[in-house]
């Protein structure tokens, strides 16, 4: 069983008391425990079981404007004594930084909302095995499937965040993940693809057969890919890639990138950075939402933000430290966004793929080709050529490149948004990008 609130609170208050006694003026403590049980399958047989029990503590101590932190997985009191002493010593020897402080008291969360993020149900490993067998049988139907690897993860977590201003709150979350990676082969090629499903509640996990079948179909479609020539072409990003572009946007408006001046979106507040039709929301109170929370990693209350409205940037993602530097109040985004998404566009998926006589549909990208200082984007890609609204053939060994500043102004979204992750996007078309191939 994952440690209860009582145990975590006791550890946190032990640390708060000791650090105060040793001379800290302000303190924050995070104590967390997570237990996960995973079963992996390969080619319809059990491959691996993995039980993981993680306990951890992070302590930050302040002496005036000096700050230092320690973390440990060993929560025995005599170890904590040594570490806290060390932390206080280090704090004394660290130079002052005028912006160091705990969050403003009036911004701290007053309550933990009931967002239905914890499911007490447990799935025994034997039942995970049954689920994965059904999944892999469904995934192996076609002769061209030569390898299947699937996994079922159950994770239960609990935490307490406490600080010397009296904040002490936490909540339990659960997560169930079923996934499958499939390899298909023909005379000319070998290809891999996957399907993934994560939910807070066990009963919401997709049907095993459906998941296996989808993983197999997506992989077989990729066989015998071609390489195309270099040209300027409309790119359509599958939802699972489009959400990555939204995540890059989020890191470019984080207050740390803004205050350090290392973002291409610095000083763009109240300016039009996307095409007119684009709205971006960050909504922390979605029931069972994978990114839902009542407060951020400093304890600051978090509310829904309309980050982008009709293409105009309304907010940065602000934490306490960088907020003070920028003369702005924290909006509860220390540690990033909650449930971040593009609102639906106006046209259907079908109309989107029909809007150009020729376009490229991208299902996977590789490489770390997003530069948030300059906005430059260049990644390896795999996908399909679309002509007159029809998927013609698979494509690989190409790159796609552009600059986010231009790409954001040329986005058209379909109306097929679903909440499958903590960052979500409808299918996205970007015009004017360059493909490099032959």
């Amino acid at each position: 069983m994952v440690k209860d609130q009582n145990y975590l609170e006791n550890k946190a208050s032990y640390c708060l008391d000791l650090a105060k006694k040793l001379g800290a003026t302000d303190i924050s403590v995070f104590v967390g425990n997570s237990i996960s049980e995973t079963v992996n399958f390969r080619n319809k047989k059990l491959d691996e079981s993995n039980r993981s029990d993680n306990l951890g503590i992070d302590i930050t101590t302040y002496i005036g404007k000096k700050k230092s932190s320690i973390s440990s997985s060993n929560l025995l009191n005599d170890n904590l004594n040594i570490l806290i002493e060390k932390c206080i010593e280090t704090t004394k020897n660290t130079p002052e930084d005028e912006f160091n402080s705990l969050p403003d008291k009036d911004l701290l969360a007053k309550e933990v909302k009931d967002l239905n993020l914890y499911d007490d149900n447990h799935i025994e490993n034997d039942d995970k095995i049954k689920y994965l067998s059904r999944l892999e049988i469904a995934a192996s139907n076609d002769k061209r499937i030569v390898n299947t690897e699937s996994s079922f993860v159950e994770d239960k977590s609990n935490f307490i965040l406490a600080n010397s201003d009296g904040f002490c709150k936490g909540f339990k979350t659960s997560s169930f993940i079923a996934s499958s990676v499939v390899v298909a082969k023909d005379d000319k090629s070998m290809e891999r693809d996957y399907e993934y499903n994560q939910k807070c509640h066990l009963k919401d996990i997709k049907n095993a057969e459906e998941l296996g079948k989808k993983a197999a179909e997506q992989t077989i479609k990729k066989l015998s890919p071609k390489k195309i020539g270099s040209e300027k072409i409309a790119i359509i990003f599958d939802k699972r890639i489009a959400k990555g572009i939204l995540s890059t946007f989020a890191s470019a408006i984080s207050s740390s990138a803004i205050s350090r001046g290392t973002s291409f979106l610095k000083d763009k507040i109240n300016q039009k950075i996307f095409s007119d039709t684009i709205n971006v929301l960050d909504k922390p109170d979605i029931l069972k939402g994978l990114g839902s929370k009542s407060f951020d990693s400093e304890g600051v209350k978090i509310d829904t933000l309309k980050l982008v409205e009709q293409g105009i940037l309304n907010h940065y993602l602000i934490d306490t430290y960088n907020g003070k530097k920028l003369n702005l109040k924290s909006n509860g985004r220390c540690g990033g966004t909650s449930n971040l998404y593009f609102e639906n566009g106006k046209i259907s998926f079908k109309d989107l793929i029909n809007s150009n006589s020729k376009s490229l549909y991208i299902t996977e990208t590789i490489g770390h080709g997003s530069n948030i200082v300059t906005g430059d984007y260049s990644v390896g890609a795999t996908g399909f050529l679309i002509e007159n609204g029809e998927f013609k053939y698979p494509i690989n060994e190409i790159t796609i490149a552009g600059n986010f500043k231009d790409m954001f102004q040329n986005i058209t979204l379909a109306n097929d948004l679903e909440f499958e992750y903590s960052v979500n996007s409808p299918t996205m078309m970007v015009e004017g990008m360059v493909v490099a191939g032959k």
Binding site: R51, D53, N54, S71, R260, E364, G380, T382, T399
Partner: protein
Amino acid sequence: MYFFMSDFFEKSNLSRNETEKIISDTLKNCDDGELYLENSKSESILLDDNKIKNSNYNSDLGFGFRAVSDEIVAYSHSNEISKNSLKQSSESLKSTLKSAKGSYNHSIPKSNKKYYKNINPIEQKTLDSKIEILNKVNQYLRSKDNNVKQVTANFSGEQKSIEIIRSGGETLTDVRPLIRFNVSVMLEKNGRKESGVYGIGGRQSYDSYLREDNWKNVCDEALRIASVNLESKPAPAGEMKVVLGPGWPAILIHEAIGHGLEGDFNRKKTSAFHNLMGQKVASEGVTIVDDGTIDNRRGSLTIDDEGTPTEKTVLIENGILKNFMQDRLNARLMKTRSTGSGRRENYRHIVLPRMRNTMMLNGKQTQEEMIKSVDKGIFAVSFGGGQVDITSGKFVFNCTEAYEIINGKIGSPIKGATLIGDGPSILREVSMVGNDMMLDPGIGTCGKAGQGVPVGVAQPSILIDKMTVGGTKL
């Protein structure tokens, strides 16, 4: 018994005898397995935006218990060090492997060689002296160039002690130091921003890194890369010739070839290389090794995380595929021996076959000859990182410093772009191998299945006849 493991047996209700008994009992019908104990201490000190922003100290203690039967691995880990917790792990392993009928393989090779010193780099220098250097770095860079708008510099140091207890009580230990020093600079000129990053590191003490000429060299290099990028123009798009500089650009070898030669992917036949053993996969003159035995290198290991001594494994010899990299599990199933390549990020993770220092050895040509021979192409000097799809064999890497080559001469710098190629065929496109092999500066981390491990790479300059450059200029 080693003093650094005393936290396990002195400060808990576990005795060594009891622990050994639980291990032997749990593994009795298994083919392999062990209890892996890890005690690590690490620190990181960060200067950013003119201030010391973070000084963090971490201590981590935990165990990972593994039982292997045929192809099945059962694993359980915890950082609660108690009899209860170990027994719970044991029960979890036994329930997964209730029908195991194997016999335990006790043999594990031994070696007395050590490739780094048993030191704790963190304790060797005071916090003050590290903070002082970081402040000097900041002042040095900002006074050197007026366009410097941001400087980030950090030290990180670690001492990781591991102990492997096998069924029957056999014990193997290692103490691994690791440090790294990194500098990142952002320049702004006429409204344009560009950045440059450089770092050094290895399994040694901070001493040599705190020397003035050394940290200044790191600063100069980061600044040089950023300055070059300020003048860069859009990169070309399409297939062309590519000259790679020596050292760090060997990420190409790591991505294009290295991952595809790891034992697990080949046993499962999901690697594009699985049916190419003994065949010609590279041009003549191309020899690639994976070497865990170079003193004090970031990717070196005295023993791997299963206790096998590391070695220098020849992967490709004069163009012919010779060996895969193996851990014990994949070696047993493929009826070969472990190459000492079994690694894990920490006790929270299972062992996988991984790279150490992956190197292409010297050839005969010079970089000058290569550049002279290219009519239109690019010269790539520094890289940010790479990635591979081992099944299709397609890999990418991201240039952070590159130039165009026109008519045999190096031209203007070009913007960072992604290069993409096909792993199994790229080495056949290598038409010249240089005589200037260099090791990377010691900053690489390789990610696989969610686990990051420190690695090294090395290569001489090479000429690749055809690769796709992912720029924006058609």
